[in-house]
């Protein structure tokens, strides 16, 4: 089922603004006036919007004795005015005040997303209300193959990555893992093959070739770190790409060897502290620029290549879907920036914020390559300065103004390089 959602940002509206409520009141077919409300508490400077959440397990729907409430194809909970007898039971069970009687009228009323084109969000000039159509994320979610409770550090973005990936790719897979933080053996309800650091792509080649021989479409899915991908496994990843092996290869890039205790890999950024690029009287963190693995993979002309992050889950979900199709024909590669709170040194609740900053500073641009064409999937018009990313973590804390400027230059250069190969339009 599709699940369109009206995302209400948890930020204050300007105190005097009521444009969404006005727009709601004027929408076509309205009988009882607006069904979106604003809560104004000026004494605590609280001005926020409240409306129906369109809950996926909606109690109102379950308790309605007349069948007046139903779920539309778009996932919206809709009220059939002609069948509603105004018993108000739904009003009582809704914990959010999303369905109610108003002005003494005899019937309930609620938000119906204006039949899939919410006037409120169109009217909002402040980006508080955002209508997300057909969120592929929730729509595609299948059963979670991971067991609850995993041995990652608190706040690690990898659990998010694993769960979302597995729920979207589904259970008809063989999952490959290498020695790393992400060893999922005995923690996942799908066939699992633990490989060496060096030979993920070749092991997956063997399995996928056998599947081809016996005409089986089970997907070979590898979720592998930057060390095993960009460093000692790169030759085999490249060779598998060149042969066009049917492997869905996801590199989770946490920019160092984290499982062995934070040592530099070839994707560690300029200036970053690690335990093998230390900061001292002579050491200034990692020198030089990292290897751009996704771009190298794109130049192998495989079926699909993309970069992604979990801060933009829908973007990632769409890419996974494309990769899932592409892997029927050949290799698909997605490079996912996966912040490591332990190794990057930030507080556990900031993984998504950090990831977002990486995208919005153009440190990690989001793009995809299909049929020889590379295009941005989330173009950042006015990129923030790199400090907005580096400032969120301690691995860059020692950098001088000049070093920050140098990192900025590297980021700009790398972005310009991608920009040159991105097709216009």
């Amino acid at each position: 089922m599709l699940n369109n959602t009206l995302v209400v940002r948890n930020t204050n509206c300007p105190p005097s603004c009521a444009l969404c409520i006005e727009a709601c009141g004027q929408r076509a077919g309205t009988v009882y006036g607006p069904v979106i409300e604003k809560i104004d508490l000026p004494e605590v400077d609280y001005h926020r919007i409240l409306t129906c959440n369109q809950c996926s397990q909606a109690d109102c729907l379950a308790v309605c004795p007349t069948g007046a409430l139903s779920r539309s194809a778009a996932g919206t909970v809709v009220l059939d005015d002609s069948r509603c007898v105004g018993c108000s039971i739904c009003n009582l069970v809704c914990p959010y005040g999303g369905i109610y009687h108003k002005n003494g009228e005899a019937k309930s009323q609620k938000c119906d997303h204006c039949g899939d084109e919410p006037k409120c969000s169109q009217a909002c000039p402040n980006n508080i209300l955002d209508y997300k159509k057909a969120s592929v994320v929730t729509e595609l979610m299948q059963e979670d193959a991971l067991s609850p409770g995993l041995p990652y550090c608190a706040g690690c973005a990898m659990e998010l990555l694993d769960r979302q990936t597995l729920r979207i790719v589904g259970k008809d897979i063989v999952l490959f893992g290498a020695p790393s933080c992400n060893v999922l053996s005995s923690k996942v309800k799908v066939p699992y093959y633990g490989t060496l650091m060096t030979n993920v792509a070749s092991s997956a080649t063997g399995v996928s070739r056998y599947f081809r021989k016996i005409k089986k479409d089970t997907i070979c899915l590898a979720i592998i770190g930057d060390g095993a991908t960009a460093d000692l496994g790169f030759g085999q990843v490249s060779a598998a790409a060149e042969r066009g092996e049917r492997i869905l290869y996801i590199c989770y890039d946490n920019e160092a060897y984290m499982n062995t205790g934070i040592q530099r890999s070839s994707t560690t950024p300029f200036g970053s502290w690690t335990n093998t690029t230390q900061v001292g009287s002579r050491g200034r963190g990692r020198q030089g620029t990292p290897k751009n693995v996704p771009l190298l993979m794109a130049f192998h002309n495989i079926e699909y290549v993309a970069t992604a992050t979990l801060a933009y889950p829908e973007d990632y979900a769409r890419k996974l879907l494309k990769a899932k199709e592409a892997v029927k024909r050949g290799m698909a590669y997605i490079h996912v920036l996966t912040p490591c709170p332990t190794g990057w040194k930030f507080e556990t609740e900031h993984a998504v914020e950090v990831t977002k900053a990486a995208v919005e500073t153009n440190y990690f641009p989001l793009w995809e390559a299909e049929n020889g064409v590379i295009r941005f999937t989330h173009e950042v018009k006015n990129p923030a300065p790199i400090q907005e990313f580096t400032g969120l973590m301690k691995r860059f804390a020692h950098l001088s103004t000049e070093e920050i400027a140098q990192l900025q230059e590297y980021v700009d250069q790398s972005y310009a390089q991608i920009k040159r190969v991105v097709s216009c339009g």
Binding site: S186, Y192, Y193, S202, T205, Y210, F211, I214, A239
Partner: protein
């Protein structure tokens, strides 16, 4: 069908008849003609398998291991540096008890540009968990490849097997070879269908991973060791079945020739055993009581069988084609010496190193070894390790 085939082509025919699902190979002298012959069979539609044109031996081993874990029958072949390069994956393969089959066309390793035959390469993996078969003739190469699959895939064994034959001396030597019929081979070695061993297509969400430690790991290794021991009886049983269908057999783990009443036994492996047979016939005519013991399986080491064959003999003259640095002898000598304490009347042993880097182990050399051994028996003072290449 009788044909004149090189060792490499004989091996290729064995592989074709075994109907593997996935073959992955990287060319290296002297294995290359084998890789080419399989590519030829595949191109001609004579092999219904996935042919993976890999970028190196590490990938070749990793690929066949993957396909084998998935449930298929697999093959790769290599030599020398290729064997060294795949070592990590090769140890993993045996470590996880994946029943892959490989050919190693033996060759020296420390010589970079030289491509001389020798057994030094295969000795480097002797404790990895691979079963090692060492044929003497082109016919035996083909037959050993077929037996290798039976052995590897046997539910009581589940260990990889390498058929290691002499580079050039067998790989490029043409001999009369009887190529079996496919129907007979299928009777001996059924094509893999719904393999009963644990695999990735069983629908059981199995996990293949070395992520075990401590006691479970020790238990796993203990069981691997037991499986290796079971090979000793299993090979006799398999060879019996093979003989019943094809009418050929090779004496199990140790092949002997005129050894029963011999006082001096020449102990060796591989192609030079043929030369030794000729020398032995001549020596017998001259009245010397001499015989041959040819090690056909180096792993597991035929401890009990050797004990049977050698106990009570006066002298064992070992001809070694590899050197065991740090022991001042060859590998065959070193390992056989470890069996002496099992014997009631252990023989004296002398080592003769020869045939390194493609030098000939000629009948002259073997005669010389025999003469040295006979003189030593008569009381002449003799060094334990001798090099036949110079007088």
């Amino acid at each position: 069908m009788i044909k004149v085939l090189t060792g490499n082509k004989a091996a290729a025919n064995g592989v074709r008849l075994a109907r593997p699902d996935v073959v992955a190979m990287y060319p290296i002298t002297p294995q290359t003609p084998l890789a080419e012959e399989l590519a030829h069979f595949h191109a001609e539609g004579q092999m219904d398998c996935e042919m993976v044109e890999v970028e190196g031996e590490h990938t070749a081993m990793s690929t066949i291991m993957g396909a084998c874990v998935a449930g298929g029958r697999v093959f790769t072949a290599t030599s020398s540096w290729g064997l060294a390069y795949m070592n990590e994956a090769l140890m993993y393969c045996a470590g996880l008890r994946v029943p892959a089959v490989m050919v190693d066309v033996t060759r020296e390793t420390p010589s970079m540009r030289g491509v001389g035959g020798g057994r030094q390469d295969i000795m480097s993996i002797r404790d990895s968990g691979w079963i090692q078969i060492e044929p003497e003739t082109c016919q035996e190469i083909l037959d050993s490849v077929l037996m290798a699959y039976r052995l590897a895939e046997d539910p009581d064994i589940l260990l990889p097997v390498v058929v290691a034959y002499d580079g050039f001396y067998l790989s490029h030597l043409s001999e009369r070879v009887d190529i079996p019929d496919q129907a007979d081979v299928d009777r001996f070695l059924a094509p893999v269908k719904n393999s009963p061993r644990p695999n990735l297509v069983s629908g059981r969400n199995l996990h293949f991973s070395p992520s075990i430690d401590g006691q479970p790991f020790a238990e796993f290794r203990y069981k691997t060791l037991q499986a290796m021991e079971r090979v000793k009886t299993k090979i006799e049983q398999i060879e019996g079945e093979f003989a019943a269908i094809f009418g050929r057999s090779y004496g199990g783990m140790v092949d002997t020739y005129r050894a029963e009443d011999a006082e001096i036994v020449i102990l060796t492996a591989g192609s030079c055993a043929g030369t030794a047979r000729v020398v032995i016939d001549q020596a017998r005519e001259d009245g010397l009581k001499v015989g041959l013991a040819r090690i056909r399986m180096f792993r597991p080491f035929p401890r009990e069988k050797l004990c049977q064959v050698l106990d009570g003999k006066k002298m064992v003259a070992v001809i070694d084609r590899s050197i065991c640095l740090g022991w001042n002898c060859g590998h065959l000598f070193m390992e056989t010496k470890a069996v002496l304490s099992d014997m009631a009347k252990p023989p004296r042993m002398l080592d003769f190193i020869d045939g390194l880097a493609n030098t000939d182990i000629t009948s002259d050399h073997i005669e010389k070894a025999l003469a040295v051994a006979a003189a030593a028996l008569k009381g002449k003072e003799t060094a334990e390790t001798n090099w036949l290449i110079w007088d």
